[in-house]
Amino acid sequence: MKFQIKRYIAQLIFLISANLGALGLKTGFCYPFFYCNACPAATSGCPLRALEVSVYKVSEKLSLSNLGSFFSSLIEKINWKLFLYPILTLGAVGTISGRAVCGWVCPIGLLQRTTSIVPRKINTKIPIFAKIGKHRAENYFRYVKYLVLISLVILIPFWIGFTFTDICPVGILTGTIPIMALSPGVYVPNSFFYVALVIFILFIALIFLIERGWCRYFCPVGAILAPFNKISFLQVSVNKKECQSCNYCSKVCPMSIDVPNMHRDPECILCGKCVNACLKNEIKFEWSYK
């Protein structure tokens, strides 16, 4: 069986297992990928929601009388177990397999995989999109996901209240739409609905214009997993000595990584497309410690 078909099967199996709540299986685990607990069929909790809840409005409870009491109240008021739980879950998975979760498990990754044919065609027919994708600034734009994680998931909930989950486009896709379809007339849009709807439309536009656009630029779960590529046991390695620099691997890479020069790139989702594409078989999956 072809390698990429195996990946499709893995993604479908994980999509189904993420939705076993439809059969009544609800657990207290956090998903190690990006999926919404508000989905009527969800089995587990969104790691980002757990992070938001853990720091929710902690700033209001802090003692500001002196520095010592400030730090002691900070330590006391953050719900550490709820803060650490999703990070450690993602960390354990990330230490073993890096961002392979994004390429092999995440349902939103599967969605973007199915839409990826559109941005590839657009890039071929409208060269400006390909140029934008290769612009030097594009690499810096990838840091936005870290800003989203720190600001919208942690800092703003710490000071003001829920933010990311209020505007999350995946919440609209997997929560709002199914719930409105299953329970018509029971709910009405709240004040964040239209903002979230605009973001959802931008999300859809993004994934149809840029392959894996969400994973590259905005996914906070990807931002947590990405650093673990640096130390993960599983990695994609390139034999640079034998590489003929045909660059075919980079052309097929959904994350637009410069594969021949890649070494434990935080953006690599270990999808294996470059492994399949290399005519010389010089790109391999490795359980490595290099």
Partner: protein
């Protein structure tokens, strides 16, 4: 090479060990289940429930009303304010609730008290689901008519005539009641529900007995 392997193994042991510790020694698993997975997250779905002003007899979980609620109904109608620690709309509604009942409380408080509402004694109960214990812990399951564990949830319990008997009769509303309402309209709506419950109570109290 060996140094990097040592780093990898140390990281894996530290992370998975701490994760195991968090799961084994704390209630993080239960907390994610009860506060995130088992409830419908209204902010995640960007929706509010449509309010239903109807009173009803049958509890949401199909069980008989709790004994201590029946006991409290001997004294007068009951108003229950359900919330959680992390609840945006609780933060919004709590000041309005305090204004209506002229009570003060902190978010984590769990208490019941008797208050005077327009000359009638009613029982006010404040429950923070994250801290609820004892008989208060499962109370939400009796009155959460939408079954979503959504908070804030406001339940007013009174008495009503039901197939020849006087039984507990309750009304539950959620969230900010109606997104298009002003604060004044929200207060009026809750006051109207409470006034209805008082009228029903006064009408039916003479026929109320419970074992």
């Amino acid at each position: 090479m060996k140094k990097f392997l040592a780093i990898q193994i140390t990281a894996l042991i530290l992370i998975s060990g701490t994760l195991g510790g968090v799961l084994y020694y704390t209630d993080a698993y239960q907390e994610v289940y009860s506060r995130i997975v088992s409830i419908i997250c209204l902010s995640c779905i960007k929706l509010d429930p449509v309010i239903s002003l109807g009173f009803r007899f049958d509890t949401a979980n199909g069980k008989d009303h709790p004994e201590f609620i029946k006991d409290l109904l001997d004294k007068g109608p009951i108003f229950i304010d359900f919330g959680t620690d992390a609840c945006l709309y609780c933060d919004y509604m709590d000041p309005l609730i305090k204004q209506i009942f002229n009570v003060s409380f902190e978010k984590e408080d769990l208490f019941n008290t008797t208050i005077n509402f327009n000359g009638t004694e009613i029982t006010f109960i404040h429950i923070n689901e994250d801290w609820a214990t004892g008989e208060y812990k499962d109370l939400e399951s009796y009155y959460d008519v939408d079954g979503d564990n959504a908070v804030p949830m406001f339940t007013t319990i009174t008495l009503g005539y039901h197939h020849g008997f006087i039984n507990p009769f309750y009304n539950t509303v959620y969230g900010i009641l109606n997104k298009d309402y002003s604060d004044g309209q929200r207060i009026n709506l809750l006051k109207n529900i409470i006034q209805d419950s008082i009228d029903l109570y006064n009408e039916n109290r003479p026929g109320y007995t419970h074992d």
